[in-house]
Amino acid sequence: MSVTSEVGEKLEALPEAAAIALRMKAEHYFDAIRAILDVFANKKSLDSIYVTSTIPSTSIINALDVLEIKLDHIWFVDCISQIMMSPAQKHGHSIYVESPTMLDNLMLKVEYLIRKTSDRKNLVIIDSINSLAIHNNTKILSEFLHILVNNLRAKEAYTIIFSMVEYETEDIRNMLNLVSDELVEVEGKA
């Protein structure tokens, strides 16, 4: 089974508005994104809010373009482009947070997009807890995830938190256990 099918099936088996920690190897990153945005979100008719602190949103948008995934119902909160001082063009589907340390503003941008896209239910993807952990201490990151996940749950939105197993620490594992309803492992078996 492909990684895309595996992730798609595992997500579909989960309850509505679940908070999911998606643990994967870095090599499965783009397959997992495809499974979430193209398969899962489409099937459930969800508006996706993709929070990226790992790579700039333009890189993900380019990858989605190659994968022929339409952006109509996908929006980005990009908290890495500004800090990189990259002169990259701003994309109409991206809004920007100055730095991944501005977790409060990140919550505000998610809230803004939820209000702007109020027709459908939402799926919020946090990519990734590992990169957020580079810029934030465990205390504030746990507090952020706890508030965000509970807020999204109240709005009947799905939350998927990416975690790259290669970069996981014990603190990160504890955090994921604390805030998520389900831990989904991407096995990627042939």
Binding site: D104, N105, M107, L108, R115, K116, N137, I140, E143, F144
Partner: protein
């Protein structure tokens, strides 16, 4: 205590003026108690005017005639700089449900040319404002800013007298009002003269908070008579869907107070 006795002991719940700003209504446990005079205080660029405008826009949309009195900025300029709210309809202005008046125009009409107001001028100004509120059936009012009026009052006694009379006049008409107060970032009190916050029914403080080099806009309700409310600090964002608020993350990492 039996439930019936407890009901008799508790003061009746006051009617609320729902601000329409979800986060603020949650903080205030349902909105500002109707008729309260609330000081909105903070340094420049912290969102005071946006907060007030949204309060008035939501009021006018809900059928409550709303009045914005601008003391420092001409209405035309203010409207050109207003955030393009998704929910704002210029018809509200055309229909007279949302009214903008420049305070210098009121001064001119009243012949208040002196730079320093005495007791008599204060009374003339209050009477004029009362007439406007009555004529236009105003239910929500904002004066932006009260600091510029206080500049002309000079003494703490005159300021106290003005705000007491203004609050009493508006409250007796069921008009809920926001008075904007400008303070410098380093100020340790909530108003320039230290009088306004003591007399107002409520104090909402906006500010800037620097945390590890990031500058956050914050909001805190310090006082609000007539309701239980949160006194925690929140982070705010000014957006096209209105003012958004989330709790300020503490995380043990707040390095420098600033707002």
């Amino acid at each position: 205590m039996a439930p019936r006795e407890r009901e008799q002991d508790e003061p009746p719940e006051r009617d609320r003026c729902i601000t329409g700003i979800d986060g603020l209504d949650n903080i205030l446990n349902g909105g500002i108690p109707r008729g309260n005079t609330v000081l909105v205080t903070g340094s420049v660029g912290t969102g005071k005017t946006s907060l007030c405008l949204e309060f008035l826009v939501h009021g006018s949309m809900a059928g409550e005639n709303s009045l914005y009195i601008s003391a420092t900025e001409a209405t035309a300029k203010l409207l050109s700089n207003i955030i393009p709210y998704d929910f704002f309809d210029r018809k509200l202005v055309r229909d007279g449900r949302l009214v903008f008046i420049d305070l210098p125009v009121i001064y001119d009409k009243l012949g208040l040319e002196k730079l320093e107001f005495e007791f008599e001028e204060v009374n003339i100004l209050i009477t004029a404002l009362a007439n406007i509120v009555d004529e236009l059936d105003i239910r929500r009012l904002c004066i932006d800013s009260i600091t510029s009026v206080c500049y002309r009052l000079k003494t703490q006694e005159n300021i106290r007298d003005f705000i007491l009379k203004l609050g009493s006049m508006l409250s007796s008409r069921g008009c809920t009002s926001l008075l904007v107060s400008e303070i410098s970032p380093a100020e340790e009190r909530y108003s320039l003269y230290g009088v306004e916050e003591a007399i107002a029914d409520g104090v909402i403080v906006t500010g800037n908070l620097e945390r590890r080099g990031d500058l956050l806009r914050t909001l805190q309700v310090v006082k609000m008579r007539g309701t239980m409310h949160s006194r925690a600090k929140y982070v705010l964002d000014l957006t096209s869907v209105g003012v958004l608020l989330v709790p300020l993350l503490k995380g043990g990492s707040v390095a420098a107070p600033g707002g």
